[in-house]
Symmetry: C2
Subunit: 251 residues, 2 copies
């Protein structure tokens, strides 16, 4: 088992299933001029955007992982200009700006250890894949210049364990909490579970039911919809592994 | 028992003990230019500043009480210039500005119904007084231009019921949650329980222990310390009574 610092130093792909027992976080960094919109968007949409930390402008450190450098210690980033991804680099040293405010947002990978310990299998981890994520037809509550659709992560859960999965995750609201939907993907406007908008398709086992949780990629969908001039995010599934034990976010 | 709308229309003093069963909220309204500092201060200090709603600039309505007018429906306000209170009017119609962003912040009056139902007596309500509030020597985490000390509300609780009071309030983190301190006031830098910084002195019964909760007057202490050019708040203890049932904030 790798420590968080080892994962930060070495991981090159999705962090799903890595650094067991430690919280993971989404990153969205915007110029100070857009920081209020992002923070208000998070306040109004706490299910997809539970804020774990906000940095001061230009600061590339976070209280969640004091030795980490937010510019280099995620496996992969997305750089955005006017709402379009223009690069997917493994560090953002040359893109960094002194006016960037970084938001660290809770990630559902954080409750996966609790799910596994409770006996809920994690198909994407078993299959060595990133989790599957989908843009839904549910609109988030607007905030200033920011708006956009809800993005969800999907896990295939054996029908008899869905109630347990709900219970375990409901106890962790800071990392998205209880599912937003169980069952028919069409109810969220999702057409084909085999074609996720982000991450990897995951194979269901017989008797599995798709379960959907709010996802920290939601701010990236808001970047697409609202087109701020510049932003840096993690690449979906390629998270900041923090030094915070996951149980710190359990009620 | 009065409805929330009746209290909003008629109350002239502290709202302690009024509109039983409904959540109450602190108000702090600042120019848009200061809104990020306030929202970040709240994010970094969630115990005293749990945000229940944030309005768009100039909007005097809140989702917490759709028929209420934030300019007239609190019993008493404080108007601030450069960190000093310059008026304590019963409405702020003539002070209102189109760039004001209003923050509605959870209030511990909201958990008082739950305390009373659990059998914890409320001395200040029995005595027909506002709750006693104190500025402590604990500093909040700074946010942009805003910083200042933690303010607490104090309730005298029979020693044998302190554990129960902790349990009941811990279930309501959106309205300050569990106490921050029990017992010796000096541990918070409070000299004399009979001289509160805000609200009324409350008489202890034999066997009572002082119990301290984080308080939504904390942003007002930050206004004093940080001196934004303009702000409007509620007068301490003179809250917005919302239409939201208090149990909506119980886990």
């Amino acid at each position: 088992m790798s420590t968080p610092a080892q994962v930060r130093a070495t991981a090159t792909g999705s962090t799903a299933g890595l650094a067991d027992g430690y919280a993971q976080a989404n990153l969205v960094a915007v110029p100070r001029d857009w920081a209020y919109d992002v923070l208000l968007f998070a306040q109004r949409n706490p299910k997809p955007c539970p804020v774990l930390d906000v940095t001061d402008p230009g600061d590339h450190r976070t209280v969640l992982a004091p030795d980490a450098d937010l510019r280099t210690d995620l496996p992969r980033y997305r750089v955005w200009r006017d709402g379009e991804p223009v690069a997917e680099p493994t560090d953002v040293l040359r893109w960094w700006r002194d006016d960037l405010v970084s938001f660290l947002i809770g990630c559902s990978f954080t409750f996966e250890t609790a799910l596994r310990r409770a006996g809920v299998p994690l198909r994407h981890v078993e299959q060595g894949r990133n989790v599957a994520m989908f843009t839904t037809d549910r609109r988030c509550r607007d905030a200033g210049r920011l708006g956009g659709p809800l993005v969800v992560s999907m896990r295939q859960v054996p029908a008899g364990l869905v109630g347990l999965a709900r219970e375990v995750t409901a106890r962790m609201p800071a990392v998205h909490g209880a599912p937003v939907h169980v069952g028919d993907p069409a109810a969220l406007g999702i057409g084909d579970l085999d074609s996720p908008d982000f991450g990897d398709p995951v194979v269901a086992e017989p008797g599995d039911v798709p379960v959907f949780w709010a996802c920290g990629v939601t701010p990236q969908a808001a970047l697409v919809a609202s087109r701020p001039p510049f932003a840096i995010t993690h690449a979906p599934g390629h998270m900041l592994v923090t030094d915070v034990p996951d149980h710190a976010y359990a009620l």
